[in-house]
């Protein structure tokens, strides 16, 4: 019983490590924020593709509207029955931070995308940094012994 649980735990840990590695590999590509978002290898590319996404979302609004209303994004958090998934809605609001009136400007949208892009780059860099230091440490340890 103990052994099986132990093995199970080990299995999950290896799976998680593999998932983590796969995730990092995904984030390293030219499309870290998915293919429909567009290329985001550099910061400028990320901004331009974010602006393109915003412009595409604006097609759903009235032609006279200048700012995107959050209702269009809230359609992602609605079920087939029409009920709102509260957790997803909260996550969307936390991510994009619309006004009290529910307006989302282009600058806010691009800023939120830019924030995520920065976090991706930093996390990828931190992962490489830790890997490199570990490798350096192990190589030094082998030389000493």
């Amino acid at each position: 019983m103990y052994l099986s649980s132990h093995l199970k735990w080990k299995d999950t840990s290896t799976r998680k490590i593999l998932q983590f590695r796969e995730m990092l590999h995904y984030l390293d590509g030219a499309y870290p924020l998915s293919v429909p978002f567009g290329p985001a290898e550099t910061r400028k590319q990320c901004m331009t593709s974010a602006q393109n996404v915003y412009n595409r979302l604006m097609l759903d609004m009235n032609p006279n509207a200048t700012v995107l209303h959050f209702d269009t994004l809230m359609s992602l958090a609605t079920n087939k029955d029409g009920n709102i998934q509260k957790e997803k809605a909260r996550a969307l609001i936390r991510l994009f931070r619309p006004d009290r009136e529910g307006n989302l400007t282009l600058l806010d949208f691009v800023r939120s995308c830019d924030r995520i892009y920065k976090r991706i780059k930093v996390s990828y860099y931190v992962h490489h940094f830790t890997c490199s230091t570990r490798a350096a440490g192990s190589s030094m340890y082998s030389n000493v012994t």
Partner: protein, 176 residues
Amino acid sequence: MYAGKMESLMRKVLLISEVAMLSQDIDLGSQGDATIPAAFASKNNWLFGNSTKSIQVDEDEDEDETDNDSARERLESSELYSFRKCGSSSMEDNENESDADTNTTRTKKIQKRLKWNFKNVKETRKKNQKNKSKKAILLGASTERIALINLLGEWEEPEIKKKFSVRIRVLYLIGH
């Protein structure tokens, strides 16, 4: 701790990708209203165009039978034919009448050409104006992008190449 942060980051990435997919759907929907039915109608004609097409074909067949008869009438009514006719008739009829006819046809032709030229000029002007407006929009978009980058502020991207320098530093520290 680190894995939890990465999980939250990935959730946010997934949300952004969902938003991007939604935007793509909206874009396709907006395009589809105008283009897709037109493409279907032009290529297949199986949905709406069948009934109208069959009627049109029948009419065309009827017209084909009478085409040979009506072609002559059209030619006779056209100016070119009348011009030649006038030329041939001038030999038979009085010369003054024929000259008057030729003059009228020539004036009509010149007027038509002038009209056509004027139309061309108008069309080219319209096209140029459209191109100019497109260029202005593109320029505006590019300036907006530059402004956005300025508003968001500079940020130095971490380069992976730095890891080698870090590795050298670590080796140096461990060595001493």
